[in-house]
Amino acid sequence: MDWVNVIIQGVLIGGLYAMFAAGLALIFGVMRLVNIAHGDLIVLAAYVSLVTTDALGLNPLTSIIIVAPVMAAIGYALQRLLLNRTLGDDLLPPLLVTFGLSVIIQNGLLELFTADSRRLNAGAIEVATFPLGEGIWIGAMPLLQFLAALAVIGSLQVLFYHTAFGRAFRATSDDPSVAQLMGLDNRHVFASAMALSLAVIAVAGVLLAIRANFDPALGPARLIFGFEAVIIGGLGSMWGTLAGGIILGVSQAIGARIDPGWQVLAGHLAFLLILAVRPQGLFPKVQG
């Protein structure tokens, strides 16, 4: 019974990891860019929410309405002004620039907010639980996070495959040169993709901040979790990414159950195992 609880907890946090991963996979899919500052941007979103809730007295969950557009705008500007200039055949510039960005964000946050641990308070919903029968209880907050993850990933899937916007992303990802011939401005498409990624990050960041303590140094670990979820799931579809997140979450939960110090390591080992036996991931894109 205890193990069922463990699995459920793992699945629920897997949704959060899937959201970390979705933003990462989106960017890589559209412009072959891996944003090393991804995790730090998640933490940045948490701090933006902190500032917003302090200033306006909002519930953190409501603050998403403000945080998401703010982060999206940051993402658009970031891509348009800085990262677009690094795109090209050479691997080093985007990697090094986003790495530099990661350092800047971490230390900037450190300067502004100190290394103190913070947490967002979402009120009564944090301690509410639902019974699932037979002595199993699910926290309302974790369930909400998981449903949010489903909603986000589902929306992304719909966006990508059933809207003109998504068509533009897929076309630009396929062939940036010919995409221009369709009237698509690559600079704008890439910047929009980054804006979208940061909007997803915003939701993930706020949920993370409610769930656990956060401080400026938390970024790299989130990047790694997102990255592991992407690799485990495979680069095929958003649902694969969800599966990857869930598997990572469950691995970590099992590891934590065995020994609390083993939580993160268990996730790493699951990732390495997948890398060893099925490097293309569990649900890779089937090449046409």
Partner: protein
Amino acid sequence: MSPAFHVEHASRSSRIGTAALAVVLLVLVAAPAFTGRDDLRLMSEIFAYIALASLWNLLAGYAGLVSVGQQAYVGLGGYVLFAAAIVAGMQPLAAVLIAGLIAAAIAVPVAGLMFRLRGHYFAIGTWVMAEVFRLFASQISTLGGGSGISLPASIVISMAASRQMRELEMYWVALALLVIVLGAIVLLLRSRYGLALTAIRDNELAARSTGVDVWRIKLVIYIAVAFATAMLGALIFLQRLRISPETAFSVNDWTAYVIFITVIGGIGRIEGPIIGTLVFFLLRRTLADLGSLYLLMLGAVAIAVMLLAPKGIWGFVAGRYRWQLLPLERRLRFAADTRTK
């Protein structure tokens, strides 16, 4: 019967450069005679960073393996040394070599896993690997677990006759390691493998189509760099007399700084890391009080360099004046050619 042509490596500027370096080396060897202990330690640190940056440069700038996880081997080297000295009672300086060998052995399966990832994903994968090493290290209670361990006084004393002798020994070993690492890199780049590496750096697909065994060369480079990095790590922590998972596997100390040094100095040129390290330490001297602001500025400078002068300081300067510090050019000289330049 002599060949109709031969390959010349030196140029006028590199002859001057090599001579200058030889003089500098002599000065450095003799340095303990006129510098104090603190300065010797600082210089050892500078030697270590030049070596680490040169190795990262070889890996990323020449072999195209951009790793943000080299701290895995720095920490591994440190921990193997402490384990060998404390648990196996080995002479610490001898254990430096053992650290390198064990790291090279571990690098093989690691490479087997990491090479399944490409490009940016390879980079993050190496980071994950370093985290795995760190987490394992914090589980080893005999080596202090999560809080780390200091080198027992008995072992420290056994290293040399006096404290001064010990400091001298470690300084010269640090200098020797630097010379060996740089020398090995220069020899490698001058050899056929160096030519293959330059080809890989310029265009991997084209290199493969001319018969270069890209995968194997990358593997060999990866293992060699792991070997050298671990030895450097072993020496670094030997000098510090204390190790902990956080310091041993620190991304900031062993990757961020190294990357910034190489980018600012100039990637893909052997002189880059040397220039970069000197600039870095100069900045540190003047700005270290600023704490996190210092790192922030470093990040901003690295971004600016990457966008505006992607070849770094040395790349910019050398590109303009066609300078070379070390003889690494390749020019064909035909037997009948009597030109001198």
